[in-house]
């Protein structure tokens, strides 16, 4: 279902300004706390320009006049980009990320920035300096994270689409918890230029939308080579139109993704989904990803190690938090970092620093890299037999706000099915596949490297055969 395409057509004959104003009004009444900054002035100006200029050739972009919400950690010129951290509050970037340039070139209107776990470190959007974002399906539960703001505003109808970033599940987890579509592209497919790094060898920017076709549309815009990101892949693929049907597709079901620790309702919804795909003509078989059990440990060692270095630049000297009187260099930057970072960020910086220390590097970081290779090989092996791998995105539905925040280990465990995908660098989508009680469940479809087209194809066929994407939360 091409919702964004339809919206674009409606705006062309109607008023982008009116539509945007309605969204902004909704955001202002909202209890979700999904947006952190609204770029009202620039967005409305852009909408008015769009409405005024009806000359041929104008407004032809793929997202012409369509508003989009952007996660806090993606650099937007002139709009605060603080990663929901005190330490970066007040930082207004002088440049646009590659994806923002691409979106603007296609006529999209940047609505504002969305809430996230501080520096993308979390799966619940509770560690933000702006306070937690709430799940539109149940205001007492988390929207997932770290792109919880982006997922919540899309699910809650405050923005038609959004960008998030996914380091260990940060697009797919909130997509799953909020009942929308979220894609983590193949590492290297979308330029990271302008994405504030948490763990740079793992993360990608990805769309959060209501429908699979909308995700394909955004991928059409943001994917492709960018010389400013050395890890950006050459070449350009087409994601539109999404190929129809799943006849003949072979889907692998990893036995390690079911069983202990997986909520029964989640497991049932996912199996139902697999049977639906089977009914549509796909074949499924069991596959094994034997190193899954080591994925979490490897992921956290790598992510925290990289984070300890990536976050070293935040010293308050050039931008961001600068409080109190300056003392000598070491005291001043230590003070700023003590005040500016929240406890989860500090925990990860400390653990990452430790893992990279002389004498521990081989025991932790190097070992984690080896496990990473094994996990990648698991996928490569599985993909010799199957076209896709399917399983639950999250082992559980959204949990209650505050329930796990003081128990980091249980929070980390919830990432068990999302982090292997980042370690392997393969693409994966989460699509709504049912409910556990009143809370949405996500089906994760994992593809080969640069196999987005197949992932989207299967996801779209599933979506077309099921009603879940049409269910809307009753937002207060």
């Amino acid at each position: 279902m091409n919702m964004l395409g339809e919206l674009r057509e409606q705006l062309r004959s109607g008023s982008a300004e009116d539509y945007l104003c309605k969204l902004f009004e909704k955001v202002e009444r909202s209890k979700l706390n999904g947006f952190t900054t609204l770029a009202k002035e620039s967005a409305l100006q852009q909408a008015r320009d769009f409405d005024r200029d009806r000359s041929p050739g104008q407004g032809q972009g793929l997202l012409a006049g369509v508003p989009i919400a952007i996660k806090e950690c993606i650099s937007t010129r002139g709009i605060q980009t603080c990663c929901s951290s005190r330490i970066l509050q007040g930082y207004i970037p002088p440049y646009d990320a590659h994806v923002i340039e691409r979106l603007k070139a296609e006529g999209a209107i940047i609505m504002g920035k969305t809430n996230m776990d501080e520096f993308a470190m979390g799966s619940s959007t509770e560690t933000s300096c702006f306070g937690p974002t709430k799940n539109p399906w149940d205001l007492n539960t988390v929207p997932g994270g770290s792109s919880g703001g982006s997922a919540a505003v899309v699910a809650g109808g405050e923005a038609p689409c959004a960008l998030g970033s996914d380091t260990g599940g940060s697009v797919r987890c909130p997509a799953s918890f909020c009942g929308i579509v979220g894609l983590k592209p193949t590492y290297g497919l979308v330029s990271r230029y302008g994405l504030v790094a948490y763990a740079n060898s793992l993360e990608q920017i990805g769309p959060l939308t209501h429908t699979v076709e909308d995700t394909a549309l955004i991928m059409q815009i943001i994917a492709g080579h960018d010389g400013r990101d050395t890890t950006s892949a050459e070449g350009k693929s087409d994601y539109l139109p999404v190929k129809e049907g799943v006849k003949g597709l072979k889907i692998g079901i990893p036995k390690e993704y079911f069983g202990e620790g997986v909520n029964k309702d989640v497991e049932k919804a996912v199996w139902d989904a697999i049977h639906t795909l089977e009914g549509l003509g796909a074949a499924w078989q069991e596959v094994s990803l034997p190193h899954t059990k080591h994925a979490l440990a490897a992921y956290y060692v790598i992510a925290m190690s990289e984070a300890s270095s990536n976050l070293a630049r935040f010293d308050g000297l050039r931008y961001g938090l600068r409080e109190g009187e300056d003392k000598d260099w070491h005291t001043t930057f230590s003070d700023i970092r003590s005040k500016g970072f929240g406890p989860e960020v500090k925990r990860r910086i400390l653990l990452g620093t430790y893992a990279l220390s002389a004498g521990y590097y081989g025991r932790y970081y190097l070992k984690a890299l080896k496990v990473r290779t094994l996990i990648k090989n698991d996928f490569l092996k599985a993909f010799k037999d199957v076209d896709l791998v399917a399983g639950p995105t999250m082992p559980i539905p959204a949990f209650r706000i505050g329930e796990r925040i003081n128990d980091p280990l249980s929070l980390y465990l919830a990432d068990v099915f999302t982090v292997p995908i980042n370690l392997a660098g393969v693409p994966a989508i989460s699509v709504p596949c049912g409910f556990a009680g009143h809370l949405p469940v996500g089906l994760q479809l994992i593809g080969k490297h640069f196999g987005e087209a197949t992932v989207l194809q299967a996801a779209q066929a599933f979506e077309a055969a099921t009603p879940f994407h049409e269910k809307k939360p009753e937002v207060v």
Partner: protein
Amino acid sequence: MEDVIIGLEIHVQLNKLNSKMFCGCSTAYHDSEPNTHTCPICLGLPGSLPVLNKKAVEYGIKVGLALNCTIEEETLFYRKNYYYPDLPKGFQISQYDFPLATKGHIMILGDDGAERNIRINRAHMEEDPGRLVHAGTIDKAKYTMVDYNRCGMPLLEVVTEPDLCSPKEARVFLDKLKSILEYLDVFDGSQEGSMRVDANISLKGGDRTEVKNISGFKGVEKALSYEITRQKNMQRRNIKVVQETRHFDEIRNITVSIRSKVGAHDYRYFPECDLVTMRIASWVPAIRDALPELPDSKRERFVKEYILADDHAKSLTSEIRVANFYEAVAAKASPKLAAVWIADVLKGELNYRDLGIESFYPAQMIEIVNMLAENKITEDGAVKIIRTLLDRIPIEVGGSPSKIAQKLGLGKAEDSEVQKAVKEAVAESAAAVADYRAGSERALNFIVGQVMKKTRGKASPGEVHTLVKAEVDKA
């Protein structure tokens, strides 16, 4: 001084590159306002990513080959993590395992006059940090300012084995390295701070100290000499030399201990994932083929091709610009005479004035050497012309050497004029003639002096001496 052990780490700015190591900012920041040669990348703004300047790697390989190093098949960058205000990312992109070049060597003339082989441990690439600036002196300034213009300048760090035996050898090594770098056209040593040296020094059996960030080769020599004295004094008094980092105070010419920053440094090196591993093996053949003639081979060629004395050849080849100047002159004037006049006279005059060879033109030198060869001017006259040109004495702005010779009346005296002066002087110097006849050879010098006076120095003293002797003997 065989009990002194010195190793050097030299940071060379590859300042002949147009853009910085990982961004498009210009490297020509030296005359610019602070923080004007910056962008999101070299300022390390959140979300920015480095893109490697391939030309910098090419330059690095060039240097590696010239230092007789092995070039690694693959090379990659690492992050060196530490906090400092001049380091906007909180880490420096550098190399660690798999540096660009390893295990090289260069020959220098040792203190004992013999050629010595100095081994190169490695040469690796990294980015320069910014620069801290203090209003007034570092002790008295109330605050520190940071200029990020230098940030991201491409640096090559050359690390020697501890093969140097004296401060003088260290200096000779650095001169040689600089010479090679300039031959390769990757480096301009005239820019401030373009080469910075960390020196490790120990006495046999003692712990070593590291003197960091010395700029200027004279500084290196002085810092090392000071350290030797200091360490020897400590040994004499049975005080243990502690392994530490020291700073060279250029004003007082001493080294001082720098309080080490929170214990031993752990830089937590790990691979920079924003850059990919580069296979450089395939780059090497083309770069090797395009390597220019280096100082040692040029020297050998000068000796053979122009039949020069070895020290003249050495003096003419130590700087590429001098070598090029010489060859331009030697193409149109006597190569031997040109060598003497450039190596012995011109270089001295330039040195004295702290000028480079670019202050003089080959065309001027060609004219001077040719006038000398044709006996049109005396050697004194030639020196005067060189000085006049260097001092920009405004007798004739842009004047050619021959015109200056004319203006200053430096043209060699006509034979008849000299003959006349000799006759007059002999006639006027009866006493000296008598002394000479009485057996005093030296008495002739007085008469020669009189002739020189009469010809206002335009005659050659040697020739005059011969003429005077003949005139007196004849009478």
